[in-house]
């Protein structure tokens, strides 16, 4: 007899937390990637009615774990006290790794493999390593294999000062190897295509800071948990937000990717930041069993690919296709989170949706998709003010969106993110307070 496969089951976000996002200060920050995930995760787990060992698995997104953090999800699971029998795996989808981990968790719950999954992402960008360059590695290999004094001396004589020039892993990681453009340069491409001005970008950046400040002042960011270092320091809030910034100040910054004539500056780009964001996902059964409060229901996720040189438009592709799948129109979505890798790129997405020509040619629509109300987009600010720890951001925006839907008593929202290498991801969630039988 043919076996039945598991039917799809509903999946709920029951809780979530993150560390403060800590701006990189030009030197390794106080926490490693696993420290960050443990910091947020253990308090998140401490407030659950179940024990960490009751989880089914742990999934984390992380792009640059340290050499001591191979399969960082398992390292974190053990450090969180989930026990030796806890399966855990690490996922990478570049800037969307944190969203990928939620998607993976949702699939595992939907197919009935697990009832409770801890998912999210973490990144200690300040701790991205400096690497030896190729000539140095070859020279050292030669030295190690040299036998006898004379060959050793010869090898020493081959040493050149240029061997000491390090490879900055962070910069290489933020460069697309297929088109040889830095992420910032792809944002310049998007700005060029839709004629987005420096002033528009700076204005967007200013608002991002103002919105984060407002959210902090109103205690909207309760998902941020204190992080304690080992030297008596405690970090309670995101520290990238600049309350004193202004259009004048932003205007004074120089372009950093396309020097001289570009318009993407450090001020209107996301910051280099350390942070972790984690969510607890549960099946209906688990919600009932442990009487868990429900934050949101994950409806579906979509991933899309596009031209790598314009990777910042990824959200347009993923979100449009996701909404198409559910026959949704623009006003079916109450709130949006589009990750602010660059102000130019978010503005580019909005422009693309308003551009009838673009929508027809690239999205297969008959008309322009429409205009997204800025008051429904990134209402608590975004990565320009908070930073973009690449492994964590995808999870952060989903958690933020869930909190916003609750606060505004709204129904549906999409969290979407652009992905280096030319992809976009979008996750549709629904405000639900309890599971239905």
């Amino acid at each position: 007899m043919e076996m039945k496969t598991n039917v799809k089951r509903d999946v709920y976000i029951v809780d979530g937390a993150r560390t403060p996002f800590l701006k990189a200060k030009g030197k390794p920050g106080p926490f490693s990637a696993s420290d960050l995930a443990v910091s947020a995760g253990r308090e998140l787990l401490a407030r659950q009615p179940f024990s960490p060992e009751d989880l089914g698995e742990v999934i984390l997104g992380c792009m640059m774990p340290s050499p001591d953090e191979a399969n960082i999800a398992r390292v974190v699971a053990l450090r969180l006290g989930c026990g030796k029998s806890m399966p855990a795996f690490t996922v990478q989808r570049n800037c969307a790794s944190g969203m990928q981990s939620i998607d993976s968790a949702v699939k595992d719950i939907a197919t009935g493999r697990h009832e409770l999954v801890l998912a999210g992402g973490t990144e200690a960008m300040s701790r991205a390593p400096l690497l030896f360059n190729n000539s140095m590695v070859n020279w050292m290999a030669g030295l190690w294999s040299a036998k006898g004094l004379s060959t050793k001396v010869k090898q020493w004589l081959k040493f050149r000062p240029a061997n000491l020039v390090p490879v900055v892993a962070l910069l290489r990681g933020l460069t697309d190897p297929m088109v040889n453009l830095s992420m910032g340069q792809t944002a310049e491409n998007v700005a060029y295509r839709f004629n987005i001005t420096r002033e528009q970008m700076d204005l967007f950046a200013l608002e991002s800071h103002q919105r984060v400040a407002n959210a902090q002042d109103n205690n909207y960011l309760a998902d941020v948990l204190s992080a304690y270092d080992y030297t008596g320091g405690v970090y309670q809030a995101d520290d990238g937000v600049r309350r004193d910034t202004s259009l004048e100040k932003l205007a004074s910054l120089k372009p950093i990717f396309d020097k001289k004539f570009g318009s993407v500056t450090a001020g209107n780009s996301s910051q280099v930041t350390d942070g972790a964001a984690l969510l607890l996902l549960a099946s209906k059964d688990a919600v009932k069993k442990y009487k868990l409060p429900v934050l949101a229901k994950v409806v579906d996720t979509e991933w899309a690919g596009l031209e790598p040189t314009e990777m910042g438009l990824g959200p347009v592709y993923a979100s449009t296709s996701l909404m198409h799948r559910y026959n949704m129109r623009l006003d079916d979505i109450d709130f949006w989170e589009i990750n602010e890798a660059f102000a130019a790129q978010v503005l580019g997405c909005l422009a693309a949706w308003e551009d009838e020509d673009y929508c027809r040619k690239h999205l297969g629509l008959k008309n322009a998709f429409g205009r997204i109300d800025p008051n429904r987009l990134n209402v608590d600010g975004g990565a320009v003010a908070l930073g973009h720890p690449v492994g964590a951001s995808g999870a952060r925006i989903v958690l933020r969106l869930a909190n916003i839907l609750k606060r505004k008593q709204a129904q549906r929202g999409i969290a979407s993110i652009c992905i280096g290498g030319g992809q976009g991801g979008a996750m549709l969630i629904e405000n639900v307070s309890e599971v239905t039988a």
Binding site: E43, A46, R79, Y228
Partner: protein
């Protein structure tokens, strides 16, 4: 195969490679210790081995789950008839180990777990020592801690193997070392993980590699000239740590090494002679007594089914923070609660420093840190198996807190207060279930003080006490059950002593003289230094609190004025002494020409008077427990066996006469001798 005899404490087993395994398996015990019968059997085994033609090698190992050999059986220590018979027995033991050393067949000691005292002396007489490299394996000669010194050749073989300085360092301090350190120092041949232990032992037994020899430099230290040069220097260092009047053991070891070195029969003869004498010293009697007191405290924690995993500590101050850190270090999951993150952060820092010092390896430090969770919201309350309150000493606040805890905690959780002054029966009046409240009272610094008072209120459930005793033991501390009365035991007895010290100061006796008198008596530090270290504000508040119950006690005016001026002791930079960076600044000492013993007598008498009062009131069950409490809670001169034992040794009525004189001289009230004596029973 030759006929193998059967033994009571040893098991012999011949394997396929013609290696004879000699397992030490002391009958009826969980841990191997050496006594007379064990030695006699061992001697027989060695005699057989000297004739053995069948085997290629011998491996001596423990058949116990736990450890190799814990040393000589301490309960035999006070059973010698006289010095002469003790020396004869020691000489006999030395002969057996000399026979072992002289065997032609290679003998390997395969050491897994502790190998101390007589156990290490046995191993040192083997040709090879193969040790396990994990944290449970510790090797050493801790005999001086029992007031004696090694007597089966350890003081001769160890310096011969690794040179005088390192060997003396180990024997004089009694410290144990890891397997890896033993190899590095040179008295073990190899340290391997358990998975290779048998293979390594058999390699040595069968391949007979060259034995480890002392290096040229190590040999040099044992020459007569070097000994003469080094010994005075070592003696000076020793003096800083142990008073020769009370701790003669290590001095004998050093003298013998200096005078006769490590060769020849004379060295062994002197070792046995001195060790035999030491068995009959008061110090040794008392230290052995202290050892058994410690065992008694350990034994108070019954094997209960209570198996706590999660400890929640409320209040992240010095005590709360350090209790939390200690619990995390001992393997518990700990949530640490305070009002704001900023109050918890310093405790996390101190915890890190503690783990760094204790754990050695970074990954273990991280694991301990991960077990310690700052918890402003108090999520841990609902999950904890033990909840310890360590907030400031205020009755209504504590009452409100416990009311909340009672409603939110698991019904099986222990609700404990670390209060040092508020009676439990005042706190528990607000509870639905007052029988749940218990006191678990730690001493500062938590990581150093072995004693923890487990305080029973009138209404505390005996089962809760039992669980608490077992919990304290799981923290590797010594639990002492006490009645909830003001100051409990330790602070109650300590306070009159400290206050009397301060009164002496007010009378013009220099602080240095007071402290020196008590250090000479055998205290780890004098009362004035102790007060400064504890903090004068703490002293004053405890004194004031106790005064409510003991109106006769006098609070020295100087203490009050110092606290008013903000001179709180070591922590503020000035108290009775001045401090710079936490270290005492040497002031010019004032001359004091009267005998110091007058001071120590007076202070000790105050302590004794309070100790007898505690016994009378039943604060602890008996004098032995009181002694244990004072030794492990305050460091009361261990070689004197504790205050009650000291009083008994020196004559209670005689000491009482002195106390009466002292009290009458200052016109104070005197309790009757009967009150001192009746407690003797």
């Amino acid at each position: 195969m030759s006929t193998m005899e059967t033994y009571k404490h040893w098991r012999l087993d011949s394997d396929a490679d013609q290696v004879l395994w000699v397992y030490f398996d002391k009958q009826g015990e969980s841990v191997n210790t050496i006594d007379h019968e064990v030695m006699e059997e061992f001697s027989g085994i060695i005699d057989n081995l000297s004739q053995d033609k069948h085997h290629k090698g011998v491996i001596i190992a423990s058949a116990k789950k736990n450890g190799f050999i814990a040393g000589a059986d301490i309960s035999q220590f006070n059973k010698f008839k006289d010095i002469e018979s003790a020396v004869t027995l020691l000489r006999h033991g030395q002969d057996i180990f000399n026979k072992l050393e002289a065997l032609k067949i290679p003998v390997v000691a395969m050491i897994d777990g502790f190998c101390v005292g007589g156990g290490l002396e046995l191993a040192l007489a083997c040709r090879y020592r193969v040790v396990e490299s994990g944290p449970k394996t510790r090797l050493g000669l801790p005999e001086v801690k029992l007031g004696i010194h090694p007597g089966w050749g350890g003081t001769v073989r160890l310096p011969r193997l690794i040179g005088g300085p390192q060997a003396m360092n180990m024997i004089l301090s009694g410290h144990t070392v890891s397997g890896k350190a033993a190899v590095k120092m040179g008295f073990a041949d190899v340290a391997v993980p358990k998975r290779h232990l048998v293979r390594a032992a058999k390699y040595y037994a069968l391949e007979k590699p060259k034995t480890r020899q002392a290096t040229f430099l190590q040999n040099l230290t044992n020459t007569k000239l070097a000994r003469k040069l080094l010994a005075p220097y070592m003696r000076k260092q020793l003096r800083a740590k142990a008073n020769p009047m009370y701790y003669p053991g290590p001095y004998h070891v050093l003298d013998n090494w200096e005078y006769v070195g490590v060769k020849g029969n004379e060295a062994y003869a002197r070792e046995a002679r001195d060790c035999g004498k030491l068995f009959f010293s008061e110090t040794s009697h008392n230290l052995v007594r202290v050892f058994f007191l410690q065992e008694r405290l350990k034994g108070l924690a019954k094997d209960s089914h209570f198996n706590p995993k999660h400890v929640h500590v409320i209040g992240a101050g010095t005590m709360g923070g350090d209790i939390a850190a200690w619990c995390a270090y001992q393997g518990f999951t700990v949530t640490l609660q305070d009002r704001e993150p900023k109050f918890i952060a310093p405790a996390i820092k101190r915890a890190y420093q503690l783990f760094k010092e204790k754990c050695k390896e970074d990954y273990l430090v991280q694991r301990a840190m991960d077990r310690l969770l700052p918890d402003v919201e108090g999520y841990g309350i609902a999950k904890a198996d033990v909840i310890i309150e360590a907030i400031f000493e205020d009755l209504p606040t504590k009452q409100a807190l416990f009311k909340k805890l009672e409603s939110e905690a698991k019904s099986t959780a222990i609700l404990a207060t670390n209060t040092s002054s508020i009676p439990l029966d005042e706190i528990n009046t607000v509870l639905q279930t007052p029988e749940r409240l218990v006191g678990i009272h730690f001493f500062n610094p938590v990581a150093k003080m072995m004693l923890v008072e487990v305080v029973k209120g009138d209404r505390t459930d005996p089962l809760v006490i039992e669980k608490s005793l077992s919990f304290v033991r799981k923290l590797d501390r010594l639990p002492l059950p006490v009645k909830s009365s003001p100051g409990f035991l330790v602070n109650r007895i300590l306070m009159p002593y400290l206050l009397e010290g301060m009164l002496l100061l007010d009378n013009g006796v220099p602080a240095e003289a007071i402290d020196k008198a008590m250090v000479d008596f055998g205290m780890p530090m004098g009362p004035v230094t102790l007060a400064d270290t504890v903090g004068l504000d703490v002293c004053l508040s405890v004194a004031k609190h106790l005064q409510q119950y003991f109106p006769d006690s006098v609070i020295p005016p100087r203490l009050i004025s110092l606290v008013e001026k903000g001179n709180l002791g070591r922590k503020s930079g000035e108290g009775f002494y001045r401090y710079k960076n936490g270290k005492k600044v040497d002031a010019k000492s004032t001359a004091y020409d009267k005998p110091l013993q007058e001071i120590s007598d007076r202070l000790v008498l105050c302590m004794l008077n309070e100790a007898f009062a505690c016994l009378r009131e039943g604060v602890v069950a008996d004098g032995d427990l009181l002694d244990a409490g004072m030794i492990f809670g305050t460091g009361f001169a261990p070689f004197r066996g504790g205050p009650i034992h000291y009083a008994k040794t020196n004559g209670i009525s005689e000491l009482y006469e002195q106390f009466v004189k002292l009290q009458t001289a200052r016109g104070a009230k005197v309790s009757s001798l009967h009150e001192w004596e009746m407690t003797e029973a």
